[in-house]
Symmetry: C2
DNA sequence: GTCTATAAACTGATAGAC
DNA sequence: GTCTATCAGTTTATAGAC
């Protein structure tokens, strides 16, 4: 074991970090290759086109979240929601990285079809999971809110996304914490 | 009167609509010129560089909001907040346009300095105005919330931005309404 | 698997005619 | 003010040597 990471994975890692910071169209094969010390033409061996790379990238990003959420199954709804927010806190970095799909959502109309579909699938996963957890939390008396659970989930997710954009724009990472803490508190029962 | 709109204004209008839909880097001088039936080189006469156009664009966008907010001075805090949301509803279109600065915020690190500063100024305006209205509403008993008014304003603005991204990504404009309605309701006193 | 070389298209931008 | 012509730089992508 202890084998070194394969090039395909390292390409996805580099592309992910760059796109989280700059967006899909502002990142080129040349930018990605430089992080690995290879030429841009070599990337086409691993990913025939940028669309392939983009779609694979978002798919991996979603599957990673799926695994994280599955590992939370045994916790209480309140704990699960806290760990969900913690997962997002981990993708926010001081160098300007925020959630990959928040950045891609802003480029929606210019994304290649396959990439856009993966982004939509990511948000669907978030909405479905949040709806379930929030509903379960209310049934157990831990959460309190009016209206359909799905709408409460939309509000939670929208606030989470906006928090990352605002925190980065204001150069104040602490703002992400302030907003998400209040967002979780708003759901809690008195 | 009834003079036709000057070219500079029409260029700003075209650029605004295109960038709201596609983002800053995905819109070229050629794209903008085509909407007016002129060549891309002609645009440089009105705006020497793309940075000049971008900064002027966001400045106008902010000043327009400033005027809208000033016209709301006589209303109650609850009414002012409703009209604020209505102003945002007006920039959301079925063709994929959302708030100009929400799109630009996602491209933050790749924006020319002057454009980025104008975007930050736009959010500062929103935060300051919301903080004031929310605080006044609480003093009058119309709103209810815990903690600093500035933080409640951050949450409101973050939710508003995220709502536009989610509504567009899901191809469901109604989602913007659902989210913002709940966002306003959350502030209201029982 | 990675390289060099190259293509074809596009970008923001400038010079100068009209 | 808008045009044509042009530039230098960039992009994604391909062909073929090693």
């Amino acid at each position: 074991m202890s084998e070194q990471t394969d090039t395909r994975t390292r390409l996805l890692d580099a592309a992910e970090q760059l796109i989280q910071e700059r967006g899909y169209h502002a990142v080129s094969y040349k930018d990605i290759g430089e992080r690995l010390g290879i030429r841009n033409a070599s990337i086409h061996y691993h990913f025939p086109g940028k669309t392939d790379l983009g779609a694979a990238l978002v798919r991996r990003y979603r599957e990673r979240l799926e695994q994280t959420l599955e590992s939370l199954g045994a916790l209480s709804p309140a704990r699960r929601l806290e760990q969900y927010v913690a997962a997002y806190r981990r993708v926010v970095h001081e160098d300007g990285r925020i959630c990959l799909c928040t950045v891609l959502a802003a480029e929606d109309s210019t994304l290649p079809g396959p990439v856009r579909q993966e982004v939509r699938a990511f948000f669907d996963l978030n909405e479905d999971w949040l709806t379930h957890v929030i509903n379960e939390g209310r049934a157990q008396g831990a959460f309190q809110f009016s209206g359909p659970p799905a709408e409460a989930a939309w509000v939670f997710l929208a606030t989470l996304e906006g928090a990352m954009l605002l925190a980065r724009s204001s150069r104040d990472p602490g703002r992400f914490e302030s907003i998400t803490c209040r967002s979780v508190d708003a759901l809690r029962s008195a």
